[in-house]
Symmetry: C2
Subunit: 381 residues, 2 copies
Amino acid sequence: MTKIIERTGKDIGLVETQYFTFGNSPDELVLESGEKLSPVMLAYETYGTLNKDKTNAILILHALTGNAHVAGFHPDEKDPGWWDNMIGYGKAFDIDKYFVICSNVIGGCQGSTGPSSINPKTGKPYGLDFPLITIKDMVSAQAHLVRSLGIKKLLCVAGGSMGGMQVLQWTVSFPEMVATAIPIATSARHSPQQIAFNEVGRQAIMADPDWQDGHYYGKSAPTRGLAVARMIGHITYMSDVSMAEKFGRRVKEERAEKKFSPDFEVEGYLQYRGDNFVKRFDANSYLYITKAIDRFDLTNGSSLEKIFKAAASVKFLVIAFKSDWLYPAYQSKEIVKACKQAQIDVSYCELNSTYGHDAFLVEVEEQDHFIRNFLRRISDE
Amino acid sequence: MTKIIERTGKDIGLVETQYFTFGNSPDELVLESGEKLSPVMLAYETYGTLNKDKTNAILILHALTGNAHVAGFHPDEKDPGWWDNMIGYGKAFDIDKYFVICSNVIGGCQGSTGPSSINPKTGKPYGLDFPLITIKDMVSAQAHLVRSLGIKKLLCVAGGSMGGMQVLQWTVSFPEMVATAIPIATSARHSPQQIAFNEVGRQAIMADPDWQDGHYYGKSAPTRGLAVARMIGHITYMSDVSMAEKFGRRVKEERAEKKFSPDFEVEGYLQYRGDNFVKRFDANSYLYITKAIDRFDLTNGSSLEKIFKAAASVKFLVIAFKSDWLYPAYQSKEIVKACKQAQIDVSYCELNSTYGHDAFLVEVEEQDHFIRNFLRRISDE
């Protein structure tokens, strides 16, 4: 089952991405909008070994621009997966004990069906003919993957940011398939400020003439607009304090002669992150996924308390970070409060960190402690 | 002296903008960079009457996209000047008592010399041939205006945001010309987060192919990029709470059929503000002024305490707002602390408001109270 190619001590070593396809006619994936998607491919990776009873599986869910490669190394890359510090032999998500799955989302551009995939009806990339997808649709697709692995119940679903939204949706859409849930640095629905930041990113992409109403495949991609969107994102992922610590007001060593070229280090950093991002991410996927995030509203016109009654059997560990101003702790507290009202077993950790929203990716030690103990308690029961 | 055309009760009524020109050869304005600017025009407005001794003048300084039209009405406009609620007969800046001047900044596009002005050397708009200007340069130009009005000492210099930076610079560059200073919602130097937001705005403008390295005059202006820059700005001017109160997650009544057209009210608002802004503001001015703001560092490589020793005779009233996360109160407190260390007479007000950075424009009552009493105390001395 495991696709770990080479084990090196506590580290996972080399891994490879796998692909799961479903939804061939007449079993198309019916989306929340009523539209059908067919076929559907999901990129995913697995680590560790599924036990005989298939009761030790943990599903990790990624953020806006994340992917299935959560841990270990790909042969051609020098950096490990995006949460490698949390997943491995003896780590918080200990693959000596657990079978860890990480699934990419539909709408994305990193191995799963999305707007850059070929539309079987036309033989060309979907572009904006790709249907609008929701967080619930992402989760529905993942449920197909989990079932295909023979897993009836996940020991845990965990993830930060948009990953946390998927975690919440999992507990409500498929409570019978989820024993425990760890939503981190997330929200049950976006505030107008959160929507606004995403919207400005979308406007930057759509203002780029290369966007061409989404039909740019095979031509110049709207990289300038996408880079601006990413820069906005990066500011919101950090904190005032973490930026002050990382950059201060230091000026770049090499300054271009042109007026308005970046002269502060922080400007150079943003440009670097923007320029790198456009090499690996599709602008249309950015539109589709941010729109799914903005429209996500777990209350669905009701109340969180009522919605969570469906998830009464799931045990929650909710984690937030004090300096996270993009997903402020009060949003996690709303989740905790609703869980309690719905008489759900819920623990809450608000961690001190200066890293802002990025904390969920970089603050290993404390998260490790709480997650490890939470999983141990659950496994012991 | 006063250019009020028509007085209506407590309101100022109709006013008109005036223009002051200086810096004709051989008396060019020498900029901080060493470059010379000639001629220099400043748009300004005045309200009330300068007394015989010329001791009742107050200079109001505006923010990034503000202008000289701070109060009263222009004949063709339905909205009054940008701080009309603070300036008028019987208002905080009471023009029954005080002679109020508001000066536009160089580098701008609203009547003062800036990148869209005609370069006398070429007979064409400067574009990026306009020299980089600084907050200190803006203040130096204003000092010419103030002297031209026969005023040796201003009773007060006051302003919010970038206006507050000019206030601080006035107290250090021309302490002998300033009796009191009211810097509001401002900073003695930009943090990397503040620089980052401005930089993303600049990148959005420069990513617009219509920008053409700044030489777009007479052709299509980079309105799409400038609108994105403005949208980013607007998010930072509000607060999480004020956005939640104003918009919630309400969807627009009229929703366009196109995918990714704004569907939440907050998205429609940002688009509206962006689209309106490009009708009145020049993209190059946005670049020049934001760069002046980002490079502003009152400490000038020394410490605020040492710098403020030059301003020991000036009395300060520093105002900040709790929900202002763009210019957080800690930055105002740094100013207050340095004033105290320099044995300056300083008062500090941190006002409760949910309006974020916009509070300095909209929170009238409490500001009115503190400013009115501060000015009364000063006038009585």
